[in-house]
């Protein structure tokens, strides 16, 4: 039993898990507010990362300016997707809407490969120091930054939904669209806002991952890993998404530990979340914190 290795992996898991949590949170945000299951969440991450990369390397914009510019772009981009593609789909069967987002993810994925090529690109250095020593463990600075950013975003999100006017409007819409509309909330705007905020949050997560690992089309796997996380936490629970994300991140790295120490299977790391997904669907389909769907006729 290699304790040092296990600890290192668990720290890794925590960092990756909080990132999953952030992406899952932005997924749940769209699902809760607009009832759209977004299969293109990973591509939003990827677009954010590529836009930031272009600003930083092609136009030599400093990071403190490039990041807000990326966020502004993603805000507009999220609204654009909602208005142009998802708005005509309101009232269509769930399946058609899911298929539109699947198709969107194909288009974005291919378009980004067309523009930027398939090979990964290193992200410009944002931090000077490589790693910090924490209780005997070498932790890379980018990991600390990633953890801090993720937690900050979660707190920001909590504040947004508990206190701000827009957050309250969004929660009201999620609860009941008709009631919200009759109380003077513009449901249309709320839908657009949900996409815009989700795109922004995803872009932040995308840039964080890019700083750690470089930008490549493989980044969009985060959009797929979101599903085990949200199913575990419950599809319509933002807190659940965060917890689910952290659990999936820890579990992935724990699976890697088991794999490399005992089983030697190779890539258990990548598929373990999907086995968990199937098991959860069998025993607790509405997740840990999701609302159970009870239908009355």
């Amino acid at each position: 039993m290699n304790t040092q290795f296990l600890l290192q992996l668990l720290v890794n898991g925590l960092v990756v898990g909080t990132l999953y949590g952030v992406v899952a949170m932005s997924f749940v945000l769209i699902y809760k507010a607009t009832q759209v299951v977004n299969f293109a969440q990973g591509e939003l991450l990827l677009i954010g990362a590529w836009v930031c990369w272009t600003l930083l390397t092609k136009y030599q914009v400093p990071f403190w300016l490039g990041m807000p510019m990326t966020l502004v772009f993603m805000f507009a981009f999220g609204i654009l997707i909602q208005v142009v593609i998802l708005r005509p789909m309101v009232g269509e069967p769930v399946i058609s809407v899911i298929m539109v987002t699947i198709a969107l993810s194909t288009v974005f994925q291919a378009a980004l490969k067309w523009i930027y090529g398939v090979s990964p690109q290193p992200f410009p250095r944002v931090f000077t120091s490589q790693s910090v020593n924490f209780a005997g463990l070498q932790i890379q600075t980018v990991y600390v930054m990633s953890l801090v950013v993720s937690v900050a975003m979660m707190i920001g999100m909590a504040w947004f939904f508990k206190v701000s006017k827009w957050g309250l409007a969004m929660r009201a819409t999620a609860f009941n669209q008709q009631v919200a509309q009759s109380l003077g909330i513009s449901v249309k705007t709320v839908f657009a806002m949900a996409w815009a905020i989700s795109a922004m949050v995803s872009a932040v997560a995308g840039v964080v991952v890019a700083v750690v690992n470089g930008v490549s089309s493989g980044l969009s796997i985060y959009g797929i890993k979101v599903f085990p996380a949200v199913i575990l936490g419950g599809l319509d629970s933002i807190g659940g998404a965060v917890v689910g994300g952290i659990i999936i991140g820890l579990l992935e790295n724990f699976a890697q530990f088991i794999d490399s120490e005992y089983l030697h299977w190779g890539n258990l790391y990548e598929v373990a979340p999907f086995y968990v997904l199937i098991i959860i669907l069998m025993i607790k389909p509405y997740g840990l914190f999701g609302t159970k769907d009870i239908e009355r006729v």
Binding site: M89, M99, A103, V107, W114, D293
Partner: protein
């Protein structure tokens, strides 16, 4: 202009037998039979290239038909269809290589085994609504592909598995010109089977589940049973098609059966028309021939200013993916009933030609 193919205004049906008939008129039946007879001459008339395209359309058409039972008739989605297709391919290769069972029987057997595997993944989601099945099939896609790359006894791991050529009564069918008839037979049988399924009690139950599952349940339809059944059927046809593909290519490998291929199968169903049996074949033909037409267009544009600016020829694969995605979106937004609907409109237009009504 009273032609026999015209269905008279006020389409009265006075018995169930008339209501559930496959071909509404004699002409439509004769046309279908004539079509099958004509296509039997394809190997003599067409070049090797077009023949291979026809075979691919036939094979994918069977897989897409299975997916259409799930998507079009039962209202569930699967984004793991390519994994089941590949599972059928590996199973058939495995059965025909490792046991004494001839290829002739290995193909339907592979379909059955794939259906069993499909049920394992479909079972948890069958209790739930469509959304959860999507996620379960997403997991199936990743788990199965991981299994193929790992299980060397079954799929050969990283080395592609070899499949025997199709043989019947000791006579080996080699080459496209012979194999075409095998695929044709399977296409005709499976399309007839599904058409007949939709006329039966079980088929109507599936449609009821799609249209309003609560009402269906109140009327005594066992939701779990029919959702599981449709998922099993979808996997069955995917397995059959995969097995046909294995014995056509003679090698099976993991390559190119990721989630993009599953989306391609969905595209066939959507473009053809969800819930239309003949539409499935049209959608498959559209999706298979689309890359060909794109290659043709980019070859035409080669050397021109557009080509130099966008580097079309170097990025053809990405362009193809973009086109597929955009076409799916366009069909969902503008023509949710697919090509089958468009075809019906064209038919009525020509039937009434000089007049619009």
């Amino acid at each position: 202009m009273a032609s026999p193919s015209l269905i008279p205004a006020g389409d009265f049906r006075s018995s169930y037998a008339v209501d559930t008939t496959i071909f509404p008129t004699k002409t439509s039946r004769n046309a279908a039979i004539l079509g099958v007879v004509l296509i039997c001459f394809a190997p003599q008339l067409l070049s090797e290239y077009w023949l291979s395209q026809l075979i691919v359309i036939g094979i994918y058409g069977i897989a897409a038909l299975g997916l259409n039972i799930l998507v079009g008739f039962t209202g569930q989605i699967s984004i793991g269809h390519a994994a089941f297709f590949l599972f059928g391919a590996f199973t058939s290769a495995y059965i025909s290589n490792k046991t004494a069972i001839p290829v002739f029987f290995a193909i339907p057997l592979a379909g059955l085994v794939t259906a069993m595997v499909g049920l394992i993944f479909g079972l948890p989601a069958a209790r739930l609504k469509g959304l959860y099945l999507v996620i379960a099939t997403l997991a199936a896609q990743y788990i199965l592909l991981d299994f193929f790359s790992r299980a060397e006894w079954f799929s050969g791991g990283s080395v592609p598995a070899m499949a025997k050529p199709f043989s019947i009564f000791g006579y080996e069918l080699r080459g496209d010109r012979h194999y075409f008839y095998v695929v044709l037979a399977y296409v005709v049988v499976s399309y007839l089977l599904v058409t007949n399924l939709m006329r039966s009690r079980d088929g109507r139950a599936l449609v009821a589940v799609r249209d309003h599952y609560l009402s269906a349940e109140i009327m005594g339809i066992n939701l779990t049973k029919y959702r599981t059944l449709s998922f099993g059927l979808a996997a069955f046809f995917a397995g059959i098609a995969g097995a046909l593909y294995a014995h056509y290519q003679l090698v099976v490998s993991n390559e190119g059966f990721g989630i993009e291929r599953s989306i391609l199968f969905l595209a066939m169903v959507i473009i053809g028309g969800t819930g239309s049996i003949m539409g499935t074949l049209m959608g498959t033909a559209f999706v298979v021939l689309l890359p060909e037409s794109m290659e043709w267009i980019s070859a035409e544009l080669k050397g021109s200013a557009i080509d130099r600016a966008l580097q079309l020829n170097n990025n053809l694969t990405f362009l193809r993916e973009i086109a597929i995605g955009l076409i799916i979106i366009a069909f969902l937004v503008f023509e949710p009933d697919g090509l089958a609907h468009r075809w019906r409109q064209i038919k009525t237009y020509w039937k009434l030609y000089p007049f619009s009504h």
